[in-house]
């Protein structure tokens, strides 16, 4: 499974668990409009660290703030390489 596929599958799974209606995931979809709240994003980050072995948010000195789904995916693609 590619990093992108893992990230997207995790987003879909967590949205489902928290009964959030998720619009189709496109790279330019703003995270704020995804229906995911900050707690969902925290769960996604924790699960991805478990699955991919990386957490781009903890390893960075400064706060990283991806705006879109595409930026979020890219953070993980960059961190995994």
């Amino acid at each position: 499974m590619t990093v992108r596929a893992t990230v997207e599958a995790t987003i879909v799974a967590v949205a489902g668990e928290h009964a959030k209606a998720l619009p189709p995931l496109t790279d330019d979809l703003p995270l704020l409009d995804s229906g995911l709240d900050s707690l969902c994003l925290a769960v996604i980050v924790a699960r991805l660290e478990d699955g991919l072995g990386v957490d781009p948010f903890s390893t960075s000195e400064e706060a990283v703030l991806p705006v879109t789904v595409g930026e979020f995916v890219k953070l993980y693609e960059d961190a995994a390489h």
Binding site: L39, A42, V43, A46, R47, E49, S58
Partner: protein, 245 residues
């Protein structure tokens, strides 16, 4: 066996909590820098009745930078984490005006920053598991009353009470409960330095005319960790024989 981590779990209140949880069917993982003879004897006893129910994990909770790795190693060795009991702490006493500055910092680091950071990573592990969880913070009655010579300790315990309430709201939607137990003065190593006159005064001022013991505190913790406490979160259970009633 569901895993519950008990910091400072090799002596004092911590060992009473760990033993109670082990007896209740959990795997209690006692975290401390090192084991001691009494703890080793308790492990042997636990092995005879419920193998694996009382375990030890060596870690210095002052090493905050290594907490993420430590929590990962616990998950690797024992599996998913059900609960965390933040019990470890320093009981430094002294008049504020003459307390050494590094002592103040050390106390706040071990009693506040360390349990908050440990909780952060334990909660993340619980998020991965997706099965809810339990956080119990050991506060103290001095978080809400006053006792001369314990101002910094009291500040650290009040910090845990505030931390408890807000975190309970934050992670409640995940089925993770966060509560405090506030013991009164309990006879342990930590309170060993108390003068007999002080002890007598506390007893005289307690509704039940006695001090609670470590088992009373352990029973309250075990309740909050249990399934029966599934609808209890963001609160403090006081176990002080009525000292603050």
């Amino acid at each position: 066996m569901r895993n519950v981590v008990v910091t400072g779990g090799t002596r004092g209140l911590g060992i009473a909590i760990a033993r109670k949880l082990a007896a209740d069917g959990y795997r209690a993982i006692a975290v401390a820098r090192q084991q001691n003879d009494h703890f080793a004897a308790c492990v042997q006893q636990a092995e005879a009745t419920a193998p694996g129910s009382l375990r030890f994990a060596a870690f210095d909770l002052n090493d905050i930078a290594f907490i993420p790795k430590f929590v990962a190693s616990l998950s690797e060795e024992f599996g998913p984490l059900h609960g965390l009991v933040n019990n470890a702490g320093l009981g430094t006493s002294g008049i504020l005006a003459t307390l050494a500055d590094p002592q103040i910092e050390r106390l706040l680091r071990l009693n506040v920053t360390s349990p908050i950071t440990l909780t952060k990573y334990a909660v993340r592990a619980m998020m991965v598991g997706g099965a809810g969880g339990r956080i119990v913070n050991i506060s103290s009655v001095v978080a809400s009353t006053g006792y001369s010579g314990l101002s910094v300790y009291a500040a650290s315990k009040a910090a845990l009470a505030g931390f408890t309430r807000s975190l309970a709201r934050e992670i409640g939607p995940l089925g993770i409960t966060v509560n405090c137990v506030a013991p009164g003065f309990v006879d342990t190593d930590m309170t060993g330095g108390m003068k007999p006159a002080q002890r007598a005064q506390i007893i005289r001022r307690s509704a039940l005319r006695r001090l609670p013991d470590a088992k009373d505190v352990a029973a309250a913790v075990a309740f909050l960790v249990s399934d029966a406490a599934g609808n209890v979160t963001g609160t403090t259970v006081t176990v002080d024989a009525g000292n603050t009633a």
